[in-house]
């Protein structure tokens, strides 16, 4: 684990994953207080779960993490099931983080939403955005990942005032999930489809089915785009990073092909899916404005119906 890991350089972390074909997971700590994006913590927790489920062990090498270190505050060692490395003197929550948590089902998600998301002290609009992203990402795992370990989730506010969110699982990966219902010749195409509104691995029908609309990742990509922040997906042998918009007025695109995206091929595949999103604490984009921008995409992306669409009735 390097000293610092952010979404802007997450490919360096992913590139550090190595395999010797053994079942064990070995985490090597390079420094006494590594500062890593929550996505990295969640990925390691998912890998630990995969190792343990396969009959392997979780080994931790390197410098011990003190009680006030970032890894201890994020409850990383609990997450990788090495409770023997947990320092007993845990500092009180400061409102800057949601510690690493494992969420296996809807009941645990409700508890997570009630007990942990409020730990993050933010503005109401930012708090709503965090809740939104967490619910959607974790539900995606529960519904599509085919993972017995569920999802690992964590969040933190960094020194620059950004909210860093990570969710990861050790499931089937996006390519397999999308290919259940759609044709995807390669992993990049599968990831592109996963971010396209109206596409769900649960059904081949555009627009989804009664339960899945195929819009969750698109909404989150839109949030990141309008906040001019990064979003990352790591799955199988591919890492996709949505780059920050440099335009004065960022726009929402329906297709990843239209976004500024960096792709990386991983020499060691990640067995599952990990998503990282950065959001801004400032209320520069009100949630309602975000939804209006997204609404335009849906309106422009659909084929015109034969008759004018019926409208909802509000009182």
């Amino acid at each position: 684990m390097p000293e610092q890991v952010g979404l802007s350089s997450i490919e360096q972390f992913a590139g550090l994953l190595a395999t010797d074909q053994m079942k064990d997971l070995t985490v090597v700590l390079a420094g006494s207080d590594p500062r890593v994006h929550p996505i990295a913590l969640c990925m390691l927790a998912a890998l630990a779960d995969v190792a343990l489920a396969s009959g392997g062990q979780v080994v931790v090498d390197g410098v011990a993490a003190s009680a006030d270190s970032s890894l201890q505050r994020m409850q990383f060692f609990e997450g990788i099931k090495r409770t023997d490395l947990v320092e007993s003197a845990q500092p009180e929550p400061t409102g800057n983080r949601i510690p690493l948590r494992q969420i296996r089902d809807n009941k645990e998600m409700k508890k997570f939403a009630t007990d942990f998301i409020p730990l993050l002290h933010t503005t109401p609009s930012a708090g709503a955005a965090v809740s939104y992203v967490m619910w959607e990402l974790v539900r995606n795992v529960i519904e599509h990942a085919g993972s017995s370990c569920g999802a690992f989730a964590a969040a933190e506010i960094d020194a620059a005032g950004r909210i860093l969110i990570g969710v990861a699982d050790g499931g089937i990966g996006v390519t397999k999930s999308i290919r259940r219902s759609h044709s995807a010749p390669d992993e990049r195409r599968a990831i592109s489809l996963a971010f396209q509104p109206g596409v769900s691995g649960a059904t081949s029908a555009y627009g989804g089915n009664e339960t899945n609309g195929g819009a969750g990742l698109f909404f989150m990509k839109s949030m990141a785009s309008l906040a001019q922040q990064h979003m990352v997906m790591i799955t199988d042998s591919t890492l996709m990073r949505l780059e920050k918009h440099s335009m004065a007025e960022p726009v929402v695109h329906s297709s990843l092909d239209q976004d500024i995206v960096s792709w990386f091929d991983l020499s060691v595949p990640f067995p599952g899916t990990a998503v990282g999103v950065n959001l801004s604490l400032e209320e520069t984009v009100a949630f309602s404005e975000l939804l209006k921008e997204i609404g335009k995409i849906y309106h422009l992306d659909v084929r015109a119906g034969k008759n004018a669409a019926k409208k909802a009735k509000f009182t």
């Binding site: 709503a128 619910w135 555009y206 627009g207 819009a215 084929r303 409208k311």
Partner: protein, 93 residues
């Protein structure tokens, strides 16, 4: 139907949405009864929740919207409902 009673202040639980859809919405609409989805005290919902709540009903019969009263929706929830109502009635390119 008070959405807050089933889903809380932040409506993200799709199972709760599916329960309301199957046991209240579809049941009443089948008998052509007017229904009320009251979002009082619900601060925000996910698009997934709204989709699970109403997309199938709207897709199968857009005229059902004439019988559905979306009550006490704030600006964000109204925007989400309008997005779902629109795409549920259309095909994609």
């Amino acid at each position: 139907m008070k959405i807050h009673a089933s889903a809380g202040e932040f409506a993200g639980n799709k199972d709760a949405a599916a329960h309301i859809r199957e046991n209240y919405l579809k049941y009443e609409l089948k008998k052509r009864h007017a229904v009320v989805l009251d979002f009082e005290d619900v601060g925000l919902a996910t698009q997934s929740f709204i989709h699970a709540l109403i997309a199938e009903v709207v897709r199968e019969d857009p005229n059902a919207l004439e019988l559905i009263d979306f009550k006490n929706c704030n600006e964000e929830i109204q925007a989400l409902i309008e997005i779902v109502v629109e795409y549920a009635q259309n095909q994609y390119e």
